[in-house]
């Protein structure tokens, strides 16, 4: 493979602790190497430019059945947005639910190289993998959802951690999944009865278990296995005024549990899109920000990581395994609604949504997301996401960076709100002068999420031995710039290397890369009871047989297996 030397760029790398100093980055055989380890490199002149590791997205909905429902039932999302084939670039379409091809290219254009699909219904894992296979350039993995799964509910009702762990290991292998995802624990199952679980102690109908038992049990099973990533939760009561207490109650379920993983993470719970979970008040008329209460907790408990779920003020498509929430949303905005039940496993819903700067609540949501990041004491434990496409499309990450890095940009946005004064009154943001620097942005978008995922040995930094995922941006941090220059530069990487292959050259897609799919193979002791339960449930309830369920070889043409030994 070609050797590269990226010379004289301003490097921002939390792994090496480089804060914008000029440094050279060397690439050989797909890895970052010492600069003296290369002999005849192609030299990339990065003088006056910003150099970072490839971005890592810990939570986005980019592949699988609900994304495709979004694509199918929103032809208007594709209207006027097509881009025909051009050289190596394949045809692209869609805005908030782009085609797989556009998904890969647009992440690459932002300098991102690893993207995790945040909710894979196990029954539709094959479809999810087919879409990931068709997403160029990016390394990807997918999190199967466990929080409403009948096996899990039955085992955890009796606190059977070993059986839960054996089932998780089996399902990760069967679906080629990466981590344990929990969406509205118990609530989506309750939705099958037309009910919901709005706080952590609401019993799940029939199963007689509470969300608190599900979350705690899955954390314990996750640590029993020592998986790379922690349990990854979207808590109950998402998107409702006053829900911050449910969020704090969920956080507290992690107290006293320590990580038992060889993959270097410090957290036992990742709570996703916290913006949607940080609301005060008791109605949409008096909803306000509780980001301060939320961040007071996060700042003082280091076994939690979170991501933002930043509202970008766009027209977008919401999609989640939180079935009851999507019904709630369609009742609010009266737009079209799709709903699905996934047999014994989960459910989901999809509804378009317009986050309008003229609507007070949307502007409050916008402020809350930014407050979370600006109130964080440690930027390596809060990650930049938009819960794509729920709070906005991922192509807006550079705009979120602009808002985080520039008080002037935030003031411009405040001035564009119709209800500016009411928004300022209901939030803390106007009183926060903090402006993040590129080092903190690199913590939020590279080193932090890589570590939380247990992938710090591969991604998130520029230390020798890591994957050669390197982005070069046409941005000089040492010269004066306008806020919009940040968004422009980080939307449009000048060069991007993925595992040593140059995939963006001079701002153009130069290669479709060698995309890999990451999954976790956890070995556990033989567990005849769990295997008998699996056989019995397939025989009795599932509409497919086991043979038509497991994700086999050709779905992952380029797998990357992370081995975990949990036998004892």
């Amino acid at each position: 493979m070609a050797e590269y030397l990226i010379k004289n760029g301003f490097v921002f790398d939390p792994v090496l602790g480089i804060r914008g100093d000029q440094a050279d980055i060397a690439i050989k055989d797909g890895k970052i190497v010492e600069t003296n380890a290369i002999t005849n490199p192609k030299v990339i002149d990065a003088a006056g430019k910003t150099v970072m590791a490839g971005g890592v997205d810990i939570h986005a909905h980019v592949a699988g059945p609900k994304v495709n429902v979004g694509r199918n039932f929103r032809p208007e999302d594709k209207l006027f947005g097509y881009k025909p084939r051009n050289g190596i670039e394949r045809m692209q379409g869609g805005f908030s639910v782009p085609t797989t091809i556009r998904t890969g290219y647009n992440y690459a254009r932002m300098g991102y190289t690893t993207v995790m699909e945040a909710a894979m219904p196990p029954l539709y894992a094959r479809h999810t993998h087919e879409e990931m296979r068709d997403t160029p350039i990016l390394d990807q993995g997918a999190y199967p959802v466990f929080g409403n799964n009948w096996f899990v509910l039955e085992y955890l009702k009796n606190h059977e951690i070993e059986n839960t762990a054996a089932y998780i290991a089996w399902l990760l292998r069967a679906t080629k999944g990466y981590a344990v995802k929990v969406v509205n624990p118990g609530g989506t199952e309750a939705w099958a009865w037309g009910l919901n679980c709005e706080n952590v102690h609401d019993p799940v109908p029939y199963f007689d278990i509470t969300p608190a038992q599900i979350v705690t049990g899955l954390i314990e099973a996750n640590e029993y296995l020592g998986l790379p990533h922690s349990m990854h939760v979207h808590a109950n009561n998402l998107g409702n005024p006053g829900n911050y207490t449910t969020t704090l109650d969920t956080f507290k379920l992690s107290e006293g549990i320590k990580p038992k993983s060889k993959f270097g993470r410090d957290q036992v719970m990742h709570h996703t899109h916290v913006q949607f979970h940080s609301y005060g008040g008791d109605s949409w008329a008096n909803v306000d920000s509780r980001a301060r209460e939320i961040m007071d907790y996060v700042n003082s408990h280091d076994n939690i990581t979170i991501d933002m779920g930043q509202v970008t003020l766009d027209e977008t498509t919401t999609m989640t395994a939180d079935g009851p929430f999507e019904h709630h949303l369609t009742e609010l905005n009266h737009l079209k609604w799709a709903n699905a039940d996934v047999e014994l496993e989960t459910g989901s819903g999809v509804v378009p949504y317009v986050y309008s700067p003229n609507i007070k609540v949307c502007a409050i949501q916008w402020a809350i997301g930014l407050e979370l990041a600006l109130l964080a004491k440690d930027s390596s434990r809060i990650f930049l996401t938009t819960d794509h496409p729920n709070a906005g499309p991922f192509i807006r990450y550079p705009r979120v960076m602009k808002w985080l890095m520039s008080e002037e940009a935030r003031e411009q946005q405040f001035d564009a709100f119709k209800h500016k004064d009411k928004v300022i009154e209901a939030t803390n943001l106007a009183g926060i002068g903090r402006e993040l620097d590129l080092y903190e942005i690199a913590q939020m978008t590279r080193a932090g999420p890589a570590k939380s995922l247990g992938l710090a040995h591969m991604y998130g930094g520029l230390a020798p031995g890591l994957e050669a995922d390197v982005a070069v941006y046409d941005f000089n941090p040492n010269e004066p710039y306008a806020p919009d220059d940040i968004e422009k530069a980080f939307s449009n990487a000048e060069h991007l290397f993925k595992t040593g292959v140059q995939v963006v050259r001079d701002h153009e897609i130069a290669s479709n890369g060698n995309k890999r799919t990451l999954w976790v193979n956890a070995k556990v002791n033989e567990n005849p009871q769990v295997m008998r339960d699996v056989k019995e449930k397939f025989l009795r309830y599932y509409t497919v047989t086991l043979n038509n369920y497991e994700v086999t070889g050709h779905y992952l043409p380029n797998p990357y297996v992370i081995e975990v030994d949990a036998t004892q």
Binding site: F73, R74, E76, H334, K336
Partner: protein, 268 residues
């Protein structure tokens, strides 16, 4: 106002996607520059001048530009799409999406138009002196934002799915209409001077439909309220007022739900 005249000289093998035939695209251009604007046939890009004789120069702005298109335009789509001002006169039958998403100015078609004319129209005036196809003044597939404003006048008949997801503006049909009128509408006004078939106002939330002729089948979701006298835009007579769609949600004003209104003429 400057006038540009396009006369079709070659018919396309497939259909011509001519969304550049607008005062906005022509403004500030001379005849030869206009002839160089692109059109698509299938996936192949061509010049407008490959299919049309172009004569005359455009005005400096869309408002100062008038376009006259002559000949058989039944394979030409998107005439006047997204235009913001000026005038287009099409002397012949035109294909789909005439005046779609238009925001201003005036289009006159001296012939028939195919489906989706005035889709998502925001403002301006669209006059069709022949018949209109299906989905006149409707929303694009999947979209909930149909006609928002402006005025569409059809001298002849209109097809099915008239005014689907209409939110504002006015559609006047001189003749008869096919099934599905104002489905999902949340505003706007539709006047049908001839007869209507069935499914008028299905899932309609707000807005008005006037029918001067017969209605084959009334939707069960519409309830008769009272007879009223109406005098409006040259229409005068006694009408039966129905309100619906009772199966839908409705906004309230002073505690009273606001329904969509369907008026059918019952006497002079």
């Amino acid at each position: 106002m400057e006038t540009v005249t396009l006369t079709i000289k070659n018919q396309p093998d497939l259909y011509l996607e001519a969304d550049n035939i607008t005062p906005d695209a022509f403004a500030g251009k001379k005849a030869d520059e206009i002839a160089n604007l692109h059109v698509y046939v299938g996936r192949e890009q061509h010049r407008l001048g490959d299919f049309f004789e172009v004569s005359g120069n455009a005005g400096a702005t869309p408002e100062e530009t008038k376009i006259v298109v002559n000949g058989d335009l039944s394979r030409v789509k998107y005439i006047g799409m997204k235009m913001t001002g000026g005038e287009v006169v099409a002397n012949g039958n035109a294909d789909m999406y005439v005046g779609a998403w238009m925001q201003g100015g005036k289009i006159t078609v001296n012939g028939n138009v195919d489906a989706f004319a005035g889709t998502g129209m925001k403002d301006g005036e669209l006059v069709i002196n022949g018949n209109a196809g299906n989905y006149l003044g409707a929303a694009y597939r999947g979209d909930w934002r149909g006609m928002q404003g402006g005025k569409i006048t059809v001298k002849g008949n209109a097809g099915s799915d008239l005014g689907t997801f209409m939110n504002g503006g006015e559609i006047i049909v001189g003749g008869d209409v096919d099934v599905h009128v104002a489905t999902h509408a949340e505003g706007g006004k539709i006047v049908i001077k001839g007869n209507a078939k069935s499914r008028l106002g299905g899932q309609m939330v707000e807005g008005e439909i006037y029918v001067l002729g017969n209605i084959d089948v009334m939707m069960p979701g519409f309830a008769y309220r009272e007879d009223v006298d109406i005098e409006m835009d040259g229409i005068k007579g006694r009408f039966a007022l129905y309100e619906g769609d009772l199966g839908e949600r409705h906004r309230k004003r002073k505690g009273q739900p606001i329904y969509a209104k369907l008026y059918q003429q019952i006497g002079a």
